[in-house]
Amino acid sequence: MVSGIRWRGPVQAKDPEQAAILTRERQGEQLRLGFSGTWVTETLAAEETRLRRCLDARELAGLAQVQLDLGALQRLDTAGAWLVCRTAAALRSAGLEVSIEGVQEGHRGLLDAVAARPDPAPPPHALPFPLGLLARVGEASLALAADARALVGFLGLTVVVLLRVAVRPGRVRFTSLVHHMEKVGFDALPIVGLLAFLIGVVLAFQGADQLARFGAQIFTVNLLGISVLREMGILITAIIVAGRSGSAFTAQIGTMQVNQEVDALRTIGLDPVEVLVLPRLLALVLVMPLLVFYANIMALLGGGVMVWVLLDIGPDAFIRQLHNAIGLNAFLVGMIKAPIFAFVIALVGCFEGLRAGGNAEAVGSQTTRAVVEAIFLVIVLDAAFSVFFSVIGI
């Protein structure tokens, strides 16, 4: 007879209060796995690998019966109970006769609860590499097209409401309008002014540096005047407004949407577009040209200070040169874009806010989207304007 093989070694050194202990006793066709000590989540990591090794096909060769002895267990939790159940199931599926012995009264409920686990569901099917990528590109494109369509739809809706209100101007909410004009216009003055001033400084500095090589320093003023009035003033203002007011619109309306305030408006019979969107849109459209004008002046001021310091062109000479360099057209080209960009920024901000649905997380992601979309559209429109103006020769 083959005598029992025991695993000893490090096992003996373990403290049964702190560690899971597995003993293994084989006699002929019988295997006895003894679980003792503390089989809880924290302790069983080490013994798990040993237990797995016991299930190795080579180890199981020639066995017919396995007993799992839980009699000497001190503590057991669901993790330990799961290991026992898993081991038993694996042995049974290997065609062995398995018995669990010495189950203590306190552990029975745990073992039953764990054993009742249904088979796990397979993870959701994912497409293999090139197909999955293709599918995601396709989904994203379709989503983009749907978004664009929805935005155009919202544009139509807003215009309809705008016309309806234009017929009866009494329906405009003046308190709300003035409030938003203050928020998006007056409150933006410091940041818009500072940034425009700095942009003027930078433009003058870079221009002077390059033009000085041809001895054409005086044309720094032309460069400054044209670029600020036609492009930089409006673009800087639009980007700041998109970042601070467009995002605020999305966050405000999105929060109201999540709190179901928008639904409440609808049930009371108020049109959310008229109550929420229109005051913001009108406020921004009215205020944006003023902001752009202010930004233009600040940028010219910054550039003027810089050319005075760098090139010694004083205020008199600066203004004279500016007069020669730019006509009314340059100014108008910049200003005419202001209400249009304002309209786009407010439209996108309100649109994304109204589309925030479900949870607070959506407000954050919609706000990000609104800012990115607004800046994207502003720059695309600006490019379109450039092409248009060059075609008509302004």
Partner: protein, 265 residues
């Protein structure tokens, strides 16, 4: 055998500015019981819960959890202690960027060194214990109903086989059938895992069916006892609470259910 309380609070003081929420508050939670915590809106039930689990520092008094003084623990000891309890927040508070199974694996991965394979299996066991279908494991919280989110939150709370389970309004927002199912799930888990449970609740049915004792947070302090004991309390709020139309209805339903169980058994 004299049972050492699992949670012992002595003389707790909680203040928000000049508003005193708890004063000289004492509470003992016994091992293996389900204790319901009730109180009017704004009486500081959730604040008390947050104070016990250490999200908020008490302004005075002493809190012992599992025999350790919360005020004197260093961060490492507090971390070790925190794995011995699980918390179910009101709407589950699941991590929205993770699937349910990954949510349940977070405490396991943080506090233990078990292999990823076993971790996933254990997470699935907990998900099943919380009464969720197996295919819920791969879903994101946003794809689940409110009741399922609570169950998923419960699965995460029991991930480490805690000694204590804190439940914050577990049946709020559930329909009566879902609420009753959740109550029986809580009772079942308590039996199977030997948990001590402290639940904040407004649900009178929960109080009658699963709670062993009830703690009422009233006038900044706790009155505790079984429902029968509390019914004899002369305080008008308690009398209104248990003696009001909803309280009587819950009591009647509970008495009928028990009579039916006795007749059937």
């Amino acid at each position: 055998m004299a049972q050492e309380p699992v949670i012992r609070i002595q003389g707790l003081l909680t203040r928000f500015g000049s508003t005193v929420v708890h004063q000289d508050l004492d509470l003992e939670v016994r091992r293996g019981e389900i204790l319901g915590l009730v109180g009017g809106s704004g009486s500081g039930k959730s604040v008390l819960l947050n104070t016990i689990i250490g999200l908020r520092r008490p302004d005075g008094g002493r809190i012992e959890v599992l025999g350790q003084d919360m005020g004197r623990l260093d961060p490492a000891a507090r971390r070790r202690l925190s794995r011995r309890w699980g918390v179910l927040f009101q709407d589950g508070a699941l991590f929205s960027s993770l699937t349910v199974r990954q949510n349940v694996e977070v405490p396991l991965a943080t506090h233990t060194r078990i292999s990823p394979g076993l971790r996933a299996e254990l997470a699935e066991v907990k998900i099943a214990l919380a009464g969720l279908p197996p295919d819920a494991a791969h879903k994101y919280p946003s794809e689940l109903s409110g009741g399922m989110r609570k169950r998923a939150g419960l699965a995460r709370a029991i991930a480490l086989d805690p000694d204590i389970l804190f439940l914050d309004e577990p049946t709020a927002g559930l329909d009566p059938i879902g609420a009753a199912a959740f109550d029986s799930l809580v009772a079942e888990l308590q039996r199977a895992l030997g948990l001590t449970i402290l639940m904040v609740t407004h649900d009178l049915d929960s109080l009658y069916t699963v709670c062993d004792r009830v703690a009422v947070l009233l006038d900044r302090r706790i009155r505790i006892g079984t429902i029968e004991e509390l019914m004899t309390d002369p305080h008008p709020w308690i009398a209104d609470y248990f003696g009001g139309p909803r309280g009587r209805a819950a009591e009647g339903a509970h008495a009928r259910a028990r009579a039916a169980a006795e007749a059937g058994g």
